[in-house]
Symmetry: C2
Subunit: 411 residues, 2 copies
């Protein structure tokens, strides 16, 4: 039969992700890819995890091989509570404030389920993290997008938009403000302390929840760490999403929702029907790892590695992009990404055809725009290619930019 | 803030599962529980899995600790393809017909997303598997329920319902027929070969997909194995859902969707926004296990164990229920469950209060009815309690039934 005739509105709306299609090219020989947002596998603590896995399967088999509760492993919850206290000074959390998810993608999807209807409004950043976009879009809400600046969301625009929604009687339709505060994906920027305060003030004024998505916060290379919005405004205002994908290993598929008991309970109910529970094995593996090793010490070499690759990329930008008028790039203080914006008139999606020929790959900005509009920007990840490939890739990208720019009469 | 004001229609509809609440009582000392549907941890191949886990994390770390593709591990897909060929003689499948999920709960949830809108109709069994109910209900469809008999779905009722829907011009709203063919949860019954053929004929007549959910099929104690509907009607008609939770270990959280390339592609797109990918670690763990060990040999002791516990329960039923007029129970040929139906007038939910006092636990039939209506039935799992506890529990249940029956004037 033709299943097409049976699909739901959602089923019909699902389209192949552009990134997936683009990344297919990245595996050809000699290609240099800045596309993926995946950690360097050499940073995974394989020896430690291998030993712990063997131990817990043998000794704790009745727990780790069995169904977990929907909430997840209480031992891991207690490790998270201790980490939040030690790293950020966040206190007064109990197991009831914590739920584990199958990667932070699931947390975003559950947030969509819990909060969004078709007539709902979600306040999001522009550029908009693709994983959140694909999760939220499954609920068909409306988006109000707030442009990002070098120090995060433009809070004046946020204020104006909220005021306008209030005046139009639409503020009740606004379900949350979604923010990636540190080393934004894709934009690489970090939300300043002042702006964090302004966002909280506005959320309080209009009584809106804030969803703070912080997968990269611990991967800071330079600059002073800033308080999480969750710490500043508390679980009665903020839902904090975290993941071990960037600090431990994505293959474990562990994300975590941290919030008020009331809202975490709702996440638990939504997760029950979605995948019942996440793997007890990978959760306990993480719990024992955090118990035995100091995560802050463990990630020091990872941070050093990413910083040095970031520095290499920034130097290569200076060298090869320095003379291209109107080009700019973000200097990230941590994380995996930088965001390069070409002069007006450039279309990084169209330019991708030339990049393909030159065997250099990036993610065009277009899929990160809420309406899939033409974009002169591109996301580049520095964490995976070796240093010399970073330099060579940036050189190839220069050639790509110049060739495209000349063809189009832009340079 | 009060998050309640921000919840979606779905968010507001989510209620705590009755089973969760009931099972809380089951952990008191001296309680005997037939409630859970979880495998006996002693059946988990812990030595084998422990060794494989340690090996693959050490040697295949760049794969198993990294993000997987949304489709899942191709090596595991090839193991599944080989198993389907060897066990059922199903051939002509490729990796493109296979997608792995985070437990089969996720497969059900994705099926809901892909097929169901609010005005959609899903044909389901009565009693209705709770996991499917909670997944499908998140899409707010209408259900048409078909009663189960000792040999599965009443196909005459199915035919009548489909005819009536067709006459009312509603057949296009029917999105699928959902069936658990083997050792039904909760009813314990198995769909006969003749009825499988009738369901396929009806699905073809009205051009409807069949979702065949078969978590228990390999756990057959007695009787002849029957062809999967998927084998009889092919991937152009049937989507087959499977899981390793009952034959290997639930803690791995691996389910599998087997279908036409077209429909599997749609599941992949839905999964991308839902949890991006399942754990590469637990998938590769299963792949290497199936590669090294013969699953049919490995589950032989499990089947023997469950059969002997089932026999113990059936004997105890004869002994302690034999003289209760009007009681009946299903004699399952495999799986984890039997379904006991008490005489008319009994309400197993109300009776639960007495069972609680007597420290014996079952799952009342009520949550398995599509409209949460009073039920004289109850689900009992025999796989977890030791033999002597099974006998003692059935004895306590007899006392419970007699006490309730007398109080209510039913006996």
């Amino acid at each position: 039969m033709d299943f097409e005739t049976k699909y739901s509105k959602l089923g019909n709306s699902l389209q192949s992700s552009l990134i997936r299609e683009l990344l297919k090219y990245a595996s050809v020989p000699n290609a240099i890819s800045f596309g993926g947002g995946v950690p360097d596998p050499e940073t995974f603590p394989r020896k430690e995890l291998s030993q712990i896995a063997s131990e817990i399967i043998e000794k704790e088999y009745a727990y780790v091989l069995q169904y977990s509760t929907t909430e997840g492993d209480p031992e891991l919850a207690n490790q998270i509570i201790a980490m939040l206290e030690r790293i950020y000074g966040i206190s007064n959390l109990s197991e009831n404030n914590i739920m584990f998810t199958t990667g932070s993608q699931e947390a975003l999807e559950l947030a969509g389920k819990i909060f969004l209807d078709e007539e709902s409004i979600a306040i999001v950043e522009d550029p908009f993290y693709l994983g959140a976009a694909s999760a939220f879009k499954m609920r068909f809400p409306k988006f109000v997008t707030i442009p990002l600046e070098d120090d995060g969301m433009n809070v004046d625009v946020l204020e104006k938009e909220l005021k306008s929604l209030d005046e139009k009687g639409l503020i009740k339709k606004v379900k949350f403000i979604y923010v990636i505060p540190n080393f934004h994906n894709p934009a690489g920027v970090t939300l300043s302390y002042e702006k964090r305060k302004r966002i909280i003030e506005l959320a309080e004024r209009y009584d809106l929840p804030i969803i703070e998505d912080d997968p990269y916060g611990l991967l800071r290379f330079e600059g002073e760490p800033l308080d999480p919005i969750f710490k500043m405004a508390g679980p009665e205002r903020v839902i904090l999403l975290n993941t071990f994908s960037k600090i431990l290993a994505p293959g474990l598929r562990i994300g975590v929702v941290i919030g008020s008991e009331q809202v975490v309970r709702k996440f638990v109910l939504a997760k029950q029907g979605t995948d019942l529970c996440s793997s007890a094995l990978t959760q306990r593996l993480a719990a024992r790892y955090f118990e035995r090793y100091d995560i802050l010490q463990q990630i020091t070499p990872t941070i050093k590695l990413y910083k040095s690759k970031k520095d290499t990329m920034m130097q290569a930008f200076e060298e090869y992009f320095g003379d291209i008028k109107g080009i700019k790039w973000v200097k990230p203080e941590g994380g995996l990404f930088t965001w390069v914006t070409l002069p007006e008139g450039f279309d990084t999606m169209e330019m991708f055809e030339i990049a393909k020929q030159k065997l250099v790959f990036y993610i065009p900005g277009q899929p990160f725009t809420p309406d899939n509009k033409v974009s002169p920007s591109m996301r580049m990840s520095f964490c995976l290619p070796p240093h010399e490939k970073i330099v060579e890739g940036v050189k190839r990208l220069r050639d790509t930019i110049l060739e495209y720019g000349k063809t189009k009469g832009l340079i």
